[in-house]
């Protein structure tokens, strides 16, 4: 009886201290969490959430600094995925944010383009090509519809059109 009690107590103490030591000494899993949250996001870097990209937004979510309903292109399915992953309650998309959608692509009105190159520099995925002073165009296949090229255009020649499947 005494042997059993001593053995079990000793065993549990030893294992508990091993676990505590491991959790203290081994690197934390926050990075993993950030990577997982980032994977659930559309990763198109549209910055509509108010953070400069998907990674910073993922870090803010994991750190508890941002809500999970701030990703317009991800929409409901992203919110649901995040809610499930993080054990938070799903809630509707924050309506104060923009309406970027991956179902659309930017199109440059080539007659109006003055070749200022500002849109190409704003594009987070290098989907706009053109050399300065000449017409620019959007590579629809790579365009994510993030709308980041719209504000810099001085002649408002970019619009978003439905993406053809």
């Amino acid at each position: 009886m005494l042997t059993a009690v001593t053995l079990l107590t000793g065993l549990s103490l030893a294992l508990a201290s091993a676990l505590i030591a491991a959790s203290r000494l081994l690197p934390g899993r926050d990075d993993d969490a950030v990577a997982q949250v980032e994977r659930a996001l559309p990763r198109i870097q549209c910055a509509q959430c108010g953070f400069p990209g998907c990674r910073p937004y993922a870090e803010a979510i994991v750190a508890g600094r941002a809500d999970i309903n701030r990703c317009p292109p991800g929409g409901d399915s992203t919110i649901r995925a995040l809610a499930e992953m993080l054990g938070r309650d799903p809630r509707p998309l924050d309506p104060s944010l923009g309406g970027a959608s991956m179902d659309r692509v930017a199109r440059i009105d080539e007659a109006l383009c003055i070749g200022c190159n500002l849109c190409a520099r704003a594009c987070p995925v290098d989907a706009i090509v053109g050399i300065p002073q000449t017409m620019h165009t959007v590579l629809a296949r790579y365009c994510t519809g993030c709308e980041l090229c719209l504000p810099p255009c001085p002649v408002d020649c970019i619009e978003l059109v439905p993406r053809h499947a």
Binding site: R43, I44, P124, V125, Y142, A165
Partner: protein, 510 residues
Amino acid sequence: MLELTPDRRLTGGIRLLAHKARSTAQPILRGLVPPELVIGLNQHAGTSAVPIVEVGQRVAKGEPIALPGPGISAGAHASSSGRVRAIEERLIPTGTRLRNALCVVIETDGEDLPYRGATASTWPSDRAAQLDLVRRAGIAGLGGAAFPTATKLESVAGRCRALIVNGAECEPYISCDDMLMREFPEEIVLGVIRMADLVDAPLVIIAIERDKPQAIDAIRRAALAIGDPRLRLAELPTIYPAGGERQLIELLTGEEVPSGTYPNAIGYVCQNVGTAYALQRLASTGEPVTSRIVTVTGLGVAEPRNVEAPIGTPIGWLIEQCGGYRDDVVRLIHGGSMMGYALPSDALPITKATSCIVAAAEEEIRVDFDEWACIRCGECAAVCPARLQPQELVVAATARDFDGLEALGLDDCIECGCCDVVCPSHIVLTERFRSAKRAFAQHMRRQALSAEAEARHKRRERRLEAAAEDTRAAQAALKAQLRADEAERRRAIEAAVERAKRRKRGNIEP
């Protein structure tokens, strides 16, 4: 000729009322010329054909109006003579859904003048030329998907274990293949032999459901007269969906087409009897596909029958040729009662995928019951010919659980509709699977776009970082240079000062 009677039973499937007798009482109505033709240039999976006519141009029957596009595509031809009125996007019915496609609209002149241009009237002897002719002649699977035939034949040519000719026609209401087999058995068998030669098939099985005795007799007689040793005739049990490509192969050979592949993966190719007929017409007279047999039936049409409809015929006009609508018509269906879908208008044109138009009366359509909860009876799984679990799929489909849908094999659903028919709770299953397939495809496209965007963004960041690094390095180099220059100047000044000092001391140097 060996006759086969498969003793295997179809996995799943159900027996349905055929509703075919009404449309097979009269011979095929031929020689129709509608006042207007709307010819879709993309009636199938793959790329659109490219128009080669202009608005206002006169065209003759059979004249090419569009050449096959790149990749999977089939050419298009004027189905009657007349004038091109417009080339524009219009809604056309395809195998499983309506879609917007570029169309050539022709105002016919009623004369039906044949094209006398450069259509090859001789069947070439080498395979590449044969396939090219088939592609340009616009031959497409006339069973209902209108898949370009040349692509399908090419995918199996040279390693074909058997050519399976589909005359099963298992879906209720449709009788176009039945009538074609009764009226043109020689042409069909000759076309089948040409196909077998093209793909080098050692075995040819013509499969017909047992509820078509006249068609079976006609094909048997024609096959015996022609006497090709590769030919086999198989009488199939009358059970839906025995005529599904995968089901037919399993029924005849016992082999299952692996998930995610097509029959060519295991050396089989299925062709519809109508396609064989079209191929024979092309080979013997040089005629491209300008018409197909369409079953016009349902209690909502006065004289149900089969008609040879020029491709592009407006559906409403076609129904007028069959005595017009009856008062109790409530819905138009493209295809049969199981896999067909409702049409929003009878102004839409016939395409190569239009095997049947059902003008349904009230009593023929499914009553919209309220859905009850699933009672886990398992009937749907028992009738599923693809061996799926519809009762679990529907939960995942409703929840848009894409991982679950993939694991449950949504992709293998052939959308036959058997599960809907047997569900005692009236749960709408197939429609949900169709919409889940679309959502799944969109999900996959988004995933791909996301992955691509992430990779491109990372490359861009690396490039910007490298550029910034270059700038920093250049600036550092410039600074170092400036410092070196400065030091050099200082040294020069010091040297000059030193020389001046020495001069002052009287040590004059040159």
